[in-house]
């Protein structure tokens, strides 16, 4: 084995070899940050522009109704739902321990924690590897959040994460901001929706 | 208040009318302008090449020459930026003459707008004009808002002055402040890219319907003019001082003894 612990020391020594004064960085001044009169409207506007679909629903049952109007939902073979009240899935994640088993997943319906108005992103905090994998391997993704769980911009978002203890747990953890369906413009700058992750992405806003 | 005129070397040698127009502009505002003898160059070509040792004595000469004046005015954003932003290396910290010259050297447009508060000049220039925002004037001296930044309420000093000229009609290129490709020795070291950049600027201004490209730096215009004349493109270039003094649109000059 290479003794790269010596590299560690070498690097740290070099970093300490010259005194560089570090000035205190003042906290972000909230009065300088953008505010929206209607964050939900802003969120909807941005996510729709990006290629996601936003649906305001009065109750979870409407999620199934709306999805039922989509041919790609009706023809789906494997649907995993972490919110049975919204959609009854036919793919039971609790019985799966190998993420590879999710390879044929068509739909994943999952809960989000909150949305971010300025960029149309939703914070999703899966509790295990299977819930995490389904977010990316599924062909189509639906995320359900409460419309009251909407922050304005990323500063508020990270403060919310701080308050929720993200990053300060003792065990490993994973969280992701998801904004719209996966995409690429790598072929002559033509936007193609559905790169490696989901091809469509829906956000349902409950009361 | 003693005001000295600092004439960039290439204007002195190749575009004297730009300096004449500058002089006339200032004098028309009642400024008693002195042209200190023996001035040559600000040292930028040497500094930009990396030859600090060659630039230093030239810079020190300039400071020596201009230190006795209260204000120095220069019809070039890039030479002014050189003095204000890139001279520190050539002087000891706290050098009084350097500090004086650095804080009292103005580019022409900023002098007219900020110091003299010039409004309308009473000149007429009935032509379609497009502005080329020379990079140093734009991004070093902030003579206008750059398209990249969002600083809010940065006035465009060139445009402001030109708006005081009667008869001007505006043509607006697609790219408001892309570099013309002169870049000093860049024009020769990276000739292919320099020429491509210049041609694209000209095409942009031409497509906007401009008769004349106006800028605060004659160096940009010298490069564009070189391309224009070689290709016979029907567009002219003029320095802002010339337009402000109501010079007639130049006639296309014959190619160098062809």
């Amino acid at each position: 084995m290479i003794a790269h612990s010596s590299s560690r020391q070498r690097i740290l020594d070099r970093l300490r070899s010259i005194p560089i004064e570090a000035s205190e960085v003042e906290p972000i001044d909230p009065s300088r940050l953008v505010r929206y009169d209607d964050p939900v409207a802003k969120f909807t506007e941005i996510l729709t522009l990006i290629g996601g679909a936003v649906h305001e629903v009065e109750h979870l049952g409407q999620v199934r109704e709306i999805l039922g109007t989509l041919p790609e939902f009706n023809s789906a073979r494997h649907i995993a739902s972490l919110i049975p009240a919204a959609v009854e899935g036919n793919f039971h994640c609790s019985q799966v321990d190998d993420p590879h088993a999710l390879a044929t997943l068509d739909w994943a319906i999952v809960p989000g924690e909150f949305g971010v108005a300025e960029n149309g992103a939703v914070w999703v905090h899966p509790t295990n590897l299977i819930e995490r994998t389904m977010l990316f391997i599924t062909q189509h993704l639906a995320v359900v959040i409460s419309r009251t769980a909407m922050v304005t911009q990323m500063h508020d978002a990270y403060q919310r994460l701080r308050a929720a203890g993200f990053g300060s747990q003792s065990g490993s953890d994973f969280g992701v901001f998801i904004c719209g369906p996966s995409k690429t413009a790598d072929i002559e700058q033509s936007l193609v929706i559905g790169a490696h992750g989901c091809r469509t992405m829906h956000v349902f806003l409950t009361p | 208040m003693s005001v000295a005129l600092f004439v960039p070397c290439y204007i002195d040698q190749f575009y004297p009318d730009v300096a004449i127009a500058t002089l006339e502009l200032l004098e028309r505002q009642g400024v008693d302008v002195v042209y200190p003898q023996g001035q040559t160059c600000c040292g930028q070509p040497m500094a930009n090449t990396g030859c600090a040792d060659q630039a230093a004595p030239v810079a020190r000469r300039l400071v020596e020459l201009f230190a006795d004046y209260d204000q120095v005015v220069c019809p070039s954003g890039s030479c002014t930026a050189m003095v204000r932003h890139h001279y520190a290396d050539f002087f000891e910290p706290g050098d009084a003459k350097y500090e004086k010259v650095r804080s009292s050297t103005f580019e022409l447009c900023e002098y007219l707008v900020d110091v003299l508060g010039v409004g309308s000049l009473g000149t007429s220039f009935p032509h379609r004009v497009s502005i080329h925002q020379s990079c140093h004037g734009l991004r070093e001296l902030r003579l206008a808002p750059s398209s990249e930044t969002r600083c809010g309420n940065v006035p465009d000093k060139l445009r402001q002055l030109l708006q005081g000229v009667e008869g001007i009609r505006w043509a607006t290129p697609q790219r408001s402040d892309e570099c013309c490709g002169f870049g000093g020795t860049f024009a020769v070291n990276e000739a292919d890219v320099s020429v491509a950049m210049g041609r694209d600027r000209i095409a942009d201004h031409l497509a906007a319907g401009s008769e004349v490209i106006v800028a605060g730096d004659m160096s940009c215009l010298m490069h564009l003019q070189g391309l224009i004349r070689r290709s016979g493109t029907p567009i002219q270039v003029m320095h802002v001082a010339q337009v402000l003094m109501g010079r007639p649109l130049p006639q296309p000059a014959p190619l160098t003894h062809s």
């Binding site: 149309g120 990053g167 | 060659q54």
Partner: protein, 503 residues
């Protein structure tokens, strides 16, 4: 995990270029940027197409910048956070290591590219990995990791679509965010036909991307390990953040049990909240999107049965940090905005820089690693300053390029064709009589000597441009003649004006 015999310690230096193609390791120190750019920029159609494509990305960035009233405030804060983080690097990296280990990650340190590559290989070898998937990591490009692993029998699949395209074509990426920006869709079609079996002649991006999706899905599912870069490493939590639009970093790390994350040591930031500033600036600056599709926060390995290895890499970064002038360049978040806005990059293409990271930031970073090989790069710049104005962390890029030129001057690296004219010019400028005489001679020569003396293919100015028409007299001559002893300075001298007014 099975036991292995100790690995032979093979610290071969990274291959100069492990992929055949535009960057030829044999010649680069002889060829500078102008020579490497020539074919691209003089192919007017191609150059304009490339320029237009990147200008559009710059334009989208502008639209995003306009949508955030506090845009400049964010840039200021980003600059401050990075400046402070760079200063506190040692403390923050130790804090990061401690927290990452607490979460169950293994933290490695690599002094240089060779060591990084060896560490990656050891991890893979220990797990018997033959199939690795990678998401975009400019650091691993810099270390020439792919070739190193391939030589040792490991299949490396770049899963970012642009990276996969250039990988299949055997070329290096030409842009750090848009690796295939120099490639037309017909060319992608040819490559995919050859390697993925798509229809011959097909060039529809949707069709081609779908083929890539299926092909790469297969690779994700069969991968035995996944390697990602790190956009941000958070000292106080020990977590790492990876931003993608495609979801490839996530698929590549959710499926296989081993995740290797390679990070340049400058990616460290102090606190979770600091991410707010960077996640608001990164995608807006890079591609003109409000945020990347996925902003994934990895805190420790995916589960108890898996491994997360984080490799902290120096490879010249501590060297750059020693310099007060160039230290701010370490704040780079690899957004590529400087490339999109650079009029030189847009017209000459990324391969003309002969380095992993091209464009303005590349021209600042590369000379630090090899001044001789990269000495043309700081001159591949008109000093327009647009890069500085778009940089989300406010690196004074064009000033740093100028500073490199001065540094080369000090180190005696400037060629005589640069220094001699400057010595001559300096001499003239210090002796006004000489200068004026030279001017008179030049103007006279331009008026009398035949055209070919000045206009010929050796004169790089007049190859494509006319020289200025020589005026009858200089301003100094005019002033001496018409203003000396003339009392009323306020009067315009009409005869002087007519004679000299010829642009």
């Amino acid at each position: 995990m099975s036991a292995h015999s100790p690995l032979p310690i093979v610290l071969s230096p990274p291959a100069a270029e492990d992929r055949a193609g535009h960057v030829n390791s044999a010649a680069p120190s002889a060829l500078g940027h102008p020579a490497m750019a020539r074919d691209f920029v003089t192919n007017v159609q191609r150059s304009r197409w490339h320029d237009g494509a990147l200008w559009f990305v710059r334009h989208k960035r502008d639209v995003q910048a306009s949508s955030i009233p506090e845009w400049e405030y964010l840039r200021q804060m980003a600059s401050k956070i990075k400046t402070s983080a760079i200063a506190r690097s040692a403390e923050l990296l130790e804090q990061f290591e401690q927290n990452a280990q607490r979460l169950g990650a293994v933290v490695h340190w690599a002094s240089d590219a060779a060591e990084h590559n060896q560490i990656v290989y050891e991890i893979l070898h220990r797990h018997d990995v033959r199939r690795l998937v990678k998401s975009k990591s400019m650091l691993t490009e810099e270390c020439h990791l792919n070739g190193f692993l391939e030589e040792r029998g490991i299949e490396v699949v770049d899963t970012d679509l642009g990276e996969r395209i250039v990988q299949l074509r055997g070329e290096p990426p030409s842009h750090i965010v848009l690796p295939a920006i120099h490639i037309k869709k017909e060319e992608v079609g040819e490559t995919f036909h050859k390697h993925l079996g798509t229809e011959e002649g097909a060039s529809d991006p949707q069709y081609l991307a779908e083929a890539a999706r299926q092909h790469l899905r297969n690779k994700f599912l069969r991968a035995e390990a996944g390697l990602t870069g790190v956009n941000f490493a958070i000292a106080e939590t020990g977590g790492i953040v990876v931003c993608t639009n495609e979801g490839n970093a996530d698929l590549g790390t959710a499926l296989p049990p081993v995740h290797i994350a390679s990070m340049g040591l400058e990616k460290i930031i102090p606190r979770l909240e600091d991410l707010s500033v960077f996640t608001r600036l990164l995608a807006r600056s890079a591609t003109g999107q409000p945020i990347t599709t996925y902003t994934s926060h990895f805190h420790g390995p995916r589960d108890a049965a898996s491994e997360l290895h984080i490799i902290i890499v120096d490879n010249g970064r501590t060297e750059l940090r020693q310099s007060e002038t160039f230290r701010p360049a370490l704040g780079c978040i690899r957004c590529g905005a400087c490339m999109n806005t650079c009029p030189v990059f847009r017209r000459s293409g990324g391969h003309s820089y002969g380095a992993t990271v091209p464009g303005p930031i590349g021209s600042v970073l590369n000379p630090s690693n090899d001044s001789v090989r990269h000495k043309s790069l700081p001159y591949a710049c008109s000093l327009c300053g647009s890069c500085t104005d778009v940089c989300p962390v406010k690196i004074p890029l064009h000033h740093q390029l100028l500073a490199w030129r001065k540094e080369f001057g000090k180190r005696g690296l400037l060629s005589i064709d640069k220094t001699l004219p400057m010595k001559a010019a300096s001499l003239l400028f210090r002796h006004p009589r000489l200068y004026r005489a030279a001017g008179r001679i030049a103007r006279a020569a331009m008026q009398t000597l035949p055209r070919f003396v000045f206009v010929n293919r050796f004169n790089l100015w007049s190859r494509d441009r006319e020289l200025p028409a020589p005026p009858e007299e200089s301003f100094t001559q005019w002033y001496a003649r018409s203003r000396k002893d003339s009392g009323n300075h306020a009067q315009v001298n009409a005869s002087g004006y007519n004679k000299n007014h010829r642009n």
